[in-house]
Amino acid sequence: MTADAANAAVQPSGTPSTDGSRSPQDVEPDVRFTYANERTFLAWNRTALALIATGVAATQLLPKLQLQWGRRLLGLPLIALGAVVAAESLRQWRANQRAMRRGDPLPRSWMPLVLTIGIVAIGAIAVAIAAFGTN
């Protein structure tokens, strides 16, 4: 979805704002774009839950590694990354909704980059544990 498409489809009889993040000029965007923004939030939240569940599984289910704190070294960054993704998904949903109401371009999301870097870093930790943490 592009911001232009969202702007073009703004409902003409929009609702004036009453909460702090909205101005009287704001109008509700096309319901389809609101749905799409909501689904994006939910998808990021599921990603966060998957990261947290994987982190918990890594700390609780993996057999004890030779390296002290090995399981925690693997699981805690996953849980932390999940928490960051969860918090950021709310901020991103809010920013997208605000931009659509105001007819502004959609803000750029850093979440795919953060997620990629985080997962690559955790993968590197796993490889390092496998290489140096065992006999």
């Binding site: 096309d30 909501e38 939240n45 839950l49 982190g55």
Partner: protein, 111 residues
């Protein structure tokens, strides 16, 4: 879970509403799985604990469904969605962060 009625003067949302309901269902299942994984490993279930754990998971499902229903019903009312959505998404994020905190605490309690 119920399907969402569009506001009377809204443009046809096509299948977007249906996709959104499915996304809510997937997210609900993800929450249940995450809670179950945490409960299973934080709490060594014994005796009637299984029933209590099942009850807690059921309660989480009910809370999730009620939250979703509130948001769905607010779509039909002008101005209600914006305020309800903000609260609902904040609640979901807070719940996810709470699960993360419990996961971190549990990792230090692991044998």
């Amino acid at each position: 879970m119920t399907t969402s009625p569009d506001p009377p003067d809204a443009p046809d949302s096509g299948l977007a509403a249906e996709r959104t309901v499915l996304a809510w269902n997937r997210s609900g299942l993800a929450v249940v799985v995450c809670v179950a994984v945490l409960l299973r490993h934080v709490w060594p279930l014994q005796g009637t604990d299984h029933e209590v754990a099942l009850g807690l998971i059921g309660l989480a499902v009910i809370v999730w469904s009620v939250v979703f229903a509130v948001l769905t019903l607010s779509r039909g009312k002008r101005g209600a969605y914006a305020s309800h959505a903000e609260s609902v998404f904040r609640l979901i994020t807070a719940g996810t962060l709470l699960l993360a905190v419990v996961g971190i605490v549990a990792s230090f309690a692991a044998p």
